[in-house]
């Protein structure tokens, strides 16, 4: 039997703006993807730990506070250290184009800015995971 795609969504750092991530969580679920929403104020450590424990295919982070250049690399580094860098790391928020390019170069997957249709995000995750 084919295994369902499993993803972990979380808000790292201090930012509490969770409208977007809740909308995305609902969209993933409606698309038949097993979605765990870890909630607010997660540290990179708790996120990576949960991702490994829950055996997810992807981690999606939402950051609207501008701390993306610290938090994405921190999660990426921990994933590598734990030998779990096969897990796709993607995200969204208030992130300038320039920073998106830099994070992509480091190995972070796509980062979605306000106005992105949720279907595009769901399709992205599906295609990335199914390809592997």
């Amino acid at each position: 039997m084919e295994r369902k795609i499993r993803i972990l969504l979380a808000k790292p750092g201090l930012d509490g703006h969770d409208r977007g991530i809740k909308v995305i969580a609902n969209s993933f679920r409606d698309a038949g993807i097993e979605t765990i929403y870890a909630g607010l104020r997660q540290t990179p450590e708790t996120i990576v730990e949960a991702a490994i424990q829950e055996d997810v295919d992807a981690i999606g982070l939402s950051i609207l506070s501008g701390a993306h250049m610290t938090l994405f690399p921190a999660v990426l580094k921990l994933l590598k250290e734990r030998g779990a860098d096969d897990i796709l790391l993607f995200g969204g928020g208030i992130i300038p184009e320039e920073d998106i390019e830099e994070l992509n170069k480091m190995g972070v997957g796509r980062l979605f800015t306000p106005g992105t249709p949720t279907s595009e995000i769901v399709e992205y995750v599906k295609s990335k995971i199914e390809k592997e």
């Binding site: 750092g13 201090l14 930012d15 509490g16 703006h17 969770d18 409208r19 809740k22 909308v23 969580a25 609902n26 969209s27 929403y37 909630g39 607010l40 104020r41 540290t43 609207l64 506070s65 501008g66 701390a67 250049m69 610290t70 938090l71 921190a74 208030i94 992130i95 300038p96 184009e97 320039e98 800015t113 306000p114 106005g115 992105t116 249709p117 949720t118 279907s119």
Partner: protein, 555 residues
């Protein structure tokens, strides 16, 4: 306004028109507001026939204040143009304030960074990567002295967007004023100080609801005695709306929060007329023009009626809902960002036609970063264009009497009243927060809205229609230097070495004793602030006494 004979005639005519309308060319789609409410194609005197003028509309500056809180409204004074701003270091923020004042801004509004909002010092492990990013970093009185350097606090009013640590920032502001030789009795400004909407929507809390409510009543009590011109609280619908609420939910949940604060202060033993005149409000200006105007008008009317009839206010000032408005951040798009200038202008206009007392207009680049200087200037100019070129300020509440606007105002009032009943049935505002009721209602509305966009039921220009493929974004963005965090941590280390640490310990111990007992926390905090205790140190003392709040998951 019409006699029965005339009404009969009108009814006949309207029936005829409705027939013609049904048979004319009609687009096969729903005509809905941004809150997904259907509206009729036409409103006529028949929609207004039961509306009593005195009871529902009346005159500006007169009960029930539907038409505005002042008698002369913008003929007396234009609204305060107050751009929310703060970033990086205290010095950088101070420079932005001087820039804004030079370009005609008439009041200040401080944005703090995430660690400050959450009560952590810049060198706390949770602050890593967040210092100075979405606002200015404040650790101690030192930072506040720099932020307001060269700004006379006896002449400028300042709004501070701060909630859980609100009393600390208020105390710092009072202490800066002291150093400028300005007595607290004459200070004007606002602390947001609205924790309930944090639990509901924006999620920047520290302590559980009970001690949080105590902190707020403490500030109301202190300011009533010592800072009588200060708006002790800005009861905010803005964040509730940004989290995805409909206009009716924004209106209802915000006012319900307001009633909860009034009840808490009355319970402390205060007279409603002593503190209610200093309660202020803060609403969102979203894109649906008439729905927004209806919302502001309904809000004033509901508040006045409740204050008078339920809480027994006798002073008319206690019945006035004075409010600040900010255009909707959530309506801005990353695509074709210049379009955001136009969106913001329409939204700002609804705030003005709704009778706002002050206004913030968003900048076009805010889906990417904090606004650049150029983008902020355009946003401020938008307000000046409305005030000085469009002529809308000439006449007070110019849309009153519009069959549509009055029907919209009544509809929103009815919807809000239904929510008040529901909240009461569910055990009140705090119970509803703990049960996740508001959070679920808002999340559902947000998801429905998003689905409507994706199904194409709602057009968003540049997003699901009129899309430009391979669009290149060419607007200059503001970047916060990483050096800010390093410098801020160094300054903090230096401060901790140089200050009188005995005085810090003594004042913090006193704060702990007050927090454990039932005295007023503001005076104890003021002592800590004067000794240059840091925000994180003060918040930690209260965390240890009261604990921290965690949210029950709703997903």
């Amino acid at each position: 306004m019409f006699d029965s004979k005339e009404l009969k005639k009108l009814e006949k005519k309207q029936k005829k028109w409705e027939e013609k309308f049904k048979n004319s060319r009609l687009q096969q789609r729903k005509f809905i507001t941004v809150s997904m409410e259907e509206v009729a194609p036409l409103y006529t005197p028949l929609d207004s026939k039961d509306r009593d003028f005195d009871e529902k509309i009346g005159f500006p500056g007169e009960y029930p204040y539907t038409r505005g809180v002042q008698t002369s409204m913008y003929r007396g004074r234009t609204w305060t143009m107050r751009q929310f701003s703060g970033m990086g270091s205290a010095r950088q923020t101070n420079e932005r304030y001087h820039y804004l004042l030079k370009h005609g801004q008439t009041g200040l509004s401080v944005a703090f960074d995430m660690p400050t909002l959450m009560g952590y010092d810049s060198d706390h492990v949770f602050s890593k990567g967040e210092v100075g990013l979405c606002g200015v970093a404040v650790d101690s009185l030192k930072d506040m002295e720099i932020i307001f350097d060269g700004i006379p606090l006896d002449k400028i009013s300042t709004s501070m967007t701060i909630n859980s640590p609100s009393n600390i920032l208020l105390a710092m502001y009072i202490a800066v004023a002291e150093k400028q030789g300005v007595p607290q009795e004459i200070l004007t400004g606002t602390t947001q100080n609205d924790i309930l909407k944090e639990y509901i929507a924006q999620k920047e809390w520290i302590y559980p609801p009970a001690p949080s409510m105590r902190l707020i009543v403490d500030s109301i009590e202190y300011c009533t005695k010592h800072v009588p011109k200060w708006n002790t609280i800005s009861i905010s619908g803005y964040h509730i709306r940004e989290a995805g609420a409909t206009a009716a939910q924004e209106l209802a949940f915000t006012l319900a929060d307001g009633f909860a604060y009034v009840e808490a202060a009355i319970e402390r033993g205060m007279d409603v007329d002593d503190f209610a005149p200093r309660l202020s409000f803060f609403f969102n200006a979203h894109l649906d023009f008439f729905e927004e105007i209806g919302k502001y008008r309904a809000a004033r009317r509901i508040w006045a009626r409740r204050m008078k009839e339920k809480y027994g206010a006798k002073n008319p000032k206690s019945m006035l809902m004075r409010f600040h408005t900010q255009t909707a951040g959530c309506s801005l798009t990353a695509q074709q960002p210049e379009n955001n200038i136009v969106r913001t202008a329409f939204e700002a206009l609804s705030g003005v036609l709704g009778g706002t007392q002050s206004l913030h207009t968003n900048s076009m680049d805010e889906t990417y970063a904090l606004p650049s200087e150029q983008a902020v200037k355009i946003a401020l100019r938008t307000q000046q264009l409305i005030a000085y070129e469009t002529g809308v300020v000439n006449t007070i509440d110019p849309l009153a009497g519009s069959y549509f606007v009055e029907a919209m105002t009544d509809r929103l009032e009815d919807e809000a009243e239904a929510y008040f009943d529901e909240i009461e049935k569910r055990g009140g505002v705090i119970q509803c927060i703990e049960d996740g009721y508001f959070q679920r209602e808002i999340a559902r509305a947000a998801y429905n809205y998003q689905k409507a966009i994706e199904k194409g039921d709602r057009v968003v220009v540049g997003v699901n229609e009129f899309v430009e493929e391979d669009e290149e974004i060419r607007i200059p963005l503001l970047k916060i230097d990483k050096q800010v965090e390093i410098d801020q941590c160094e300054m903090l280390e230096k401060l901790r070495k140089e200050r009188d640490n005995d005085a810090v310990k003594r004042t913090l111990d006193n704060l702990r004793a007050v927090a454990e007992g039932d005295g007023n926390t503001v005076e104890a905090i003021l002592e800590c602030v004067r000794a240059y205790a840091t925000e994180g140190e003060m918040c930690d003392v209260m965390r240890e006494v009261w604990g921290e709040y965690t949210e029950k998951s709703i997903i």
